[in-house]
Homo-oligomer: 335 residues x 2
DNA sequence: CTGTTAGCGCTTTCAC
DNA sequence: GTGAAAGCGCTAACAG
């Protein structure tokens, strides 16, 4: 079943059918519209997306690009799963098809953007500077998320990572902790982690607390390796609390602490970031900084579509707030 | 940059360039091949997927269809996240693009299959019988997973749910448990859950243990509702162990039990299914039936591609084994 | 209000 | 070994 066949059985031209399908009804008489729509219904006609994108030089595809090492199962990371899942829901809701790609190679990015004539692109994570050289990025509407670098003319939706860090520092200081540690998600040049750390430092500074360099861990390696963690905790100046750049790392940390027979929070306190379902499964339940991922996905997709519909809009920038969710992984040292 | 432009700058016809791009080199002279490949390299040419699928009447897209209620974030379910993530990796590895769709409506399915001229389709979950009427399903190569119903001529990759249930029953009986309960994933007509339950019953039957009807819970509702769970556990004949149809439900159960101050495993034992990362985060770590999701995804994609390449292959059917991973959520009652 | 027509970028016979 | 040409299914001017 093709559009042409619909046109033939309706006794009209393909142009008219095309207009009906695409909702350009101002140029078609009411009964023609109805006749054609009936035929479409009965025949179960489905427009061919390839033909559509060829003719329009733009598809209904939106590239969702997640920075990750090649062949990694990105959905094993609960944040990525939650976020991409939410983006997917929003995109379908608006009639777009997500093309989910995880890569570290800018050539994959251009292949997707050009090969599929995408309507737009959503990026998550910090990409190499190579990205700055992709000309398509200034052509196709783009929203960057979970990163701080920007390409001129692109849009950005972020989370207020700095104030998240501040809230964590403030809270832990209030609870009487004086020796703190920070654990990042990964050793890459993640500026999200850097901002969380920076905020943490600022939050602590208000209480005249300084983070010992040894306790700023650029990767969760110590968390995965019980021996390293033990060494760290047996130092006389060992931290009494950890601020983790994600719930995922925090959950791993708690697991390892349990394994080493440290009690959380009695011996060691832990604060996470994201407030994913994971945060309720740890023992004890995790105190963490919450972000609203559904709302983020919603804003991202809305912003993208706005720029798809109107190509000359000025670049936008939105920062979403975070808040502390207090559970039971932090001890109060004030008594 | 289009294929035609490549042809012009190389001084050859589009047919020749097309042959080079698609690796049909038997008809092209060595130096022509090299010349064209160089131009392609330098120009950063990317073939247009839409044009390709139009001309070939088949795209490089594989539909990945997950049965789910509309607008649900399917990746919040850790099994789905893990599985779809693994499928995605495998598909990209073979040059295919996953079109991930979660739906409950067969019309979405036909729209995807027809609209995108997909090369193949992978289904996960139990679909309504409507599916049987989709003619495309007998046309496009298809692999069904995580379900037991089949459409004639289609392929199937499954997990040995029955023996998983048997292993669970056998293990719990061996550990001295005599009053058991089963919790399914959801109330839908999930035959995966049914097979796990059936196997569980068989495993217990070998020890002359019968499952009380009241303790066969068709949804995790009791798990999410502390009051319901408490009522159940305060019965004089309360179960001493729960077999959950998934780690996700098991993790929720453990959380609620902890919340109600029941100790796992001292008061209540729990067994899960899937062996996801979640199973290591619970307190205590979860004893569960493991399936190899990466291997499953690998087999599924291999099978699909085999049938894409050769359309007249006979339907295939593969069953993957499961095994028990013993952690600390089950008490030994034998002393 | 409706039809004609010329592509979109690529593949694929079929000649040469 | 290479090229010419006819489409794939749809859209978008432009006529009428």
């Amino acid at each position: 079943m093709t559009l042409k066949e619909i046109a033939r059985t309706a006794g009209v031209s393909t142009a008219t059918v095309s207009n009906v399908i695409n909702g350009n009804l101002h140029h078609v008489s009411a009964d023609t519209v109805e006749r054609i729509q009936n035929i479409i219904q009965e025949s179960g006609y489905v427009p061919n997306q390839a033909a559509r994108s060829l003719a329009q030089r733009e598809s209904k595809v939106v590239a969702v690009i997640i920075q990750a090492i090649p062949n990694e199962n990105i959905f094993r990371n609960p944040y990525t799963a939650e976020y991409v899942g939410a983006l997917t829901v929003e995109l379908y809701r608006h009639g777009y098809f997500p093309l989910i790609r995880s890569t570290d190679d800018y050539r994959d990015v251009v292949a997707d953007l050009r090969g599929w004539n995408v309507a737009g692109a959503i990026f998550s994570g910090t990409f190499p500077r190579h990205l700055k050289n992709i000309k398509s990025l200034t052509t196709v509407p783009t929203v960057f998320t979970d990163c701080y670098f920007r390409i001129p003319g692109t849009n950005h939706v972020g989370v207020d990572d700095v104030s998240g860090g501040q809230l964590a520092g403030d809270y832990l200081a209030q609870m009487g902790h004086k020796r703190l540690a920070f654990i990042a998600n990964s050793i890459d040049e993640s500026d999200v982690d850097q901002h969380r750390l920076q905020g943490f430092r600022e939050g602590l500074a208000a209480y005249d607390i300084t983070l010992t360099d040894d306790f700023v861990l650029p990767t969760p390696a110590n968390v995965y390796n019980p021996d390293l963690l033990k060494n760290l905790l047996q130092r006389p100046d060992a931290p009494t609390a950890f601020f983790c750049a994600s719930d995922r790392v925090a959950a791993q940390l708690i697991q390892t602490l349990n394994h080493l027979n440290y009690r959380v929070p009695d011996d060691i306190s832990v604060v996470g970031f994201d407030n994913l379902p994971t945060a309720e499964l740890t023992h004890p339940p995790l105190t963490t900084l919450a972000q609203d991922i559904d709302q983020k996905a919603h804003l991202v997709v809305d912003m993208l579509i706005r720029h798809i519909k109107q190509k000359d809009l000025a670049p936008e920038r939105t920062l979403l707030g975070v808040w502390l969710v207090e559970r039971q992984s932090v001890a109060d040292l004030n008594n």
